[in-house]
Symmetry: C2
Subunit: 346 residues, 2 copies
DNA sequence: TTGTAGGCGTTATCAG
DNA sequence: CTGATAACGCCTACAA
């Protein structure tokens, strides 16, 4: 019962035309007489014909597939990516593209599996451990790509969706300063992780603009992206009298909550935090926070939020613009983040 | 500088052999003299040759791509899927397959975009609104597929990774009964959503096995999968004296928290809940729960958990077994869930 | 507006 | 063990 799929030749025969005419109808290209077109469409329907994407790809050297490479330590599996992927998918599907997912593995031959295989027309790179060599490679061979998140690479201005962490963290810090805070901890900066440098810059600029001294002792650095750090540094700052913290990611938030929980500190009474809402969390994390606030249900921690779906959409648009027309175009798109500092009216 | 990629012919010439010999070396198929093989490998390296997957796909009628179709209302964008996708990806990549993501859109021509295009060798279906017609279609044309989550389809036993909700919810309910609870609310059953029926069965069986009456009045139904229900029914049961609830998903949990928050009820003092941890949540959700518990930081809501990564892996294995060898095989794999009812020692 | 010929890069088949 | 030849299904380029 498993009939072989029909091909263009059978359709052509049934319609009494040549393969080319069928091809033209399918692709809406060239001129086809209305009458002929209808004959062809009828034959297509009768044969249950669907164009074979693979054959098409081979003949036209274009697969209409875009790749998404996720650089993640594997330990993290940041669910933030999922919403970005959804955003990319939305745009891709609008343009008639499909998406293919790759999980980057340390030491693999990137080019072979992902680029040189001829499977994809372009690629979007995301994730914490993005390999700069890979970006350089793509640039060198002129393969369409887009990076999500700013990366500082010498003498190279990659196609990028830039997330404006600097602005967001400046705004958040400014909010705290305007609220009268002076000793504000910053946790933390992952060494060698460019986006964290932007966050730090924003934090520092808020102090500068306010004519205040930004005490470097209040900044927590750590090594290794995504590393669990423990709350030792938080405790150290707390002992120095710091009661307010800007937290750069949910990992830092967990550490701070751990500290608060153990010392029975309430939020915001004993400890104020401002967080970057970079990932969604499990119930078990939620329960760590439970009973840590001293206000009624309505209390909202000031937080920086990113519209991840939108970020994915922007990346998709940038890549497809690059793929579809080769003319000179902008290499970067900047996306700003939201800073939310009070419970939205409902 | 954009050198065209080398093809098998060029490699063959450089190695002084035929294309077929190169092909055999690449695919490790057939017998090739050691000496010849080395010549070929050398030529491959010199040409920077990588096999073209598309051409391969056309010639062999096998793309080594598996599709993942996500049926989601678009409003939900359940991040639970992401971990499953990761599990699939892990297995796929072990077997040398790539994965392609499709987001199902209402009313689209499923077959054309996803199956008949010849792009994929098999497909995994997941998501709340899986279309039974699509499953029937795949079964009919004999296309390899696997469904995640049990679906009851007349006269059809689909390839499925079955999630044992029944067992998990029975265990959870039994735990509550053993703790002395008698009036236990169940929220909720989405009409027409098969997995919810399994959850309900588990709940009811716990009562049966305990020789207790399972009051149907304590069961909350709602229409439309994923619909926001509001906490009206929770309130109604609460008024009837129900102080303990089994919640079937995070949506129901939000409603219950909403109710608890407004009425200043504490957990577990005023209200006990047992939840199914089906998705990760945003900080804003977390803050709804904050200050709602009356115990110290260590309190853990009894919860049912699913290893989503593992579910993905099982689906991947099932599909690939189907794709790679046609012999009769098991059509279903059952995955059990965990029930966690106290804070794990740390 | 329509058709013909050739090729995309690989594998299957069959012959040596 | 190795090689020539014919597909695979479609598109590009050119011709009618």
């Amino acid at each position: 019962m498993k009939r072989e799929p029909a091909n263009i030749k059978q359709v052509a025969e049934k319609a009494g035309v040549s393969m080319m005419t069928v091809s033209r109808v399918i692709n809406d290209s060239g001129k086809v007489a209305q009458e002929t077109r209808e004959k062809v469409l009828k034959a297509i329907k009768e044969c249950h014909y669907y164009p074979n994407s693979i054959a098409r790809g081979l003949a036209s050297n274009k697969t209409n597939i875009i790749g998404i490479v996720i650089y993640d330590s594997g330990r993290l599996r940041h669910n933030m990516f999922y919403e970005m992927i959804n955003g990319i998918e939305r745009i891709a599907s609008e343009f008639g593209y499909n998406i293919m997912l790759f999980s980057y593995r340390e030491g693999e031959d990137y080019s072979e599996r992902i680029v040189e295989s001829g499977l994809i027309d372009g690629v979007i790179l995301m994730g914490i451990t993005i390999n700069y060599e890979d970006i350089r490679y793509l640039e060198k061979i002129g393969f369409p790509y887009v990076v999500i998140g700013k990366r500082n690479i010498d003498d190279l201005n990659p196609y990028t969706v830039v997330l404006d962490y600097e602005e967001a963290f400046q705004r958040a810090t400014q909010f705290l300063i305007d609220s009268g805070e002076r000793k504000i901890g910053f946790a933390g900066v992952a060494r060698g992780f460019d986006p964290d440098l932007d966050k730090l810059t924003g934090y520092q600029e808020a102090f500068n603009h306010s004519g205040l001294f930004c005490d470097p002792e209040n900044i927590i650095y750590f090594d290794g992206i995504g590393n669990k750090k423990g709350y030792g540094d938080i405790a150290r700052l707390y002992e120095r009298g710091v009661r307010t913290f800007v937290l750069t990611d949910c990992g830092r938030m967990r550490e701070t909550l751990e500290f608060a929980s153990i010392h029975k500190l309430c939020i915001p009474g004993d400890l104020k935090i401002c967080i970057f809402n970079d990932e969604k969390m499990d119930i078990s994390d939620i329960l760590r926070l439970a009973s840590l606030t001293d206000r009624g249900g309505g209390y909202m921690v000031p937080q920086i939020e990113m519209n991840r779906f939108n970020v994915g959409q922007e990346a998709g648009k940038l890549l497809l613009a690059r793929i579809e027309n080769k003319k000179d175009m902008c290499r970067t798109v900047k996306v700003s983040l939201d800073f939310i500092y009070e419970a939205p009216a409902e």
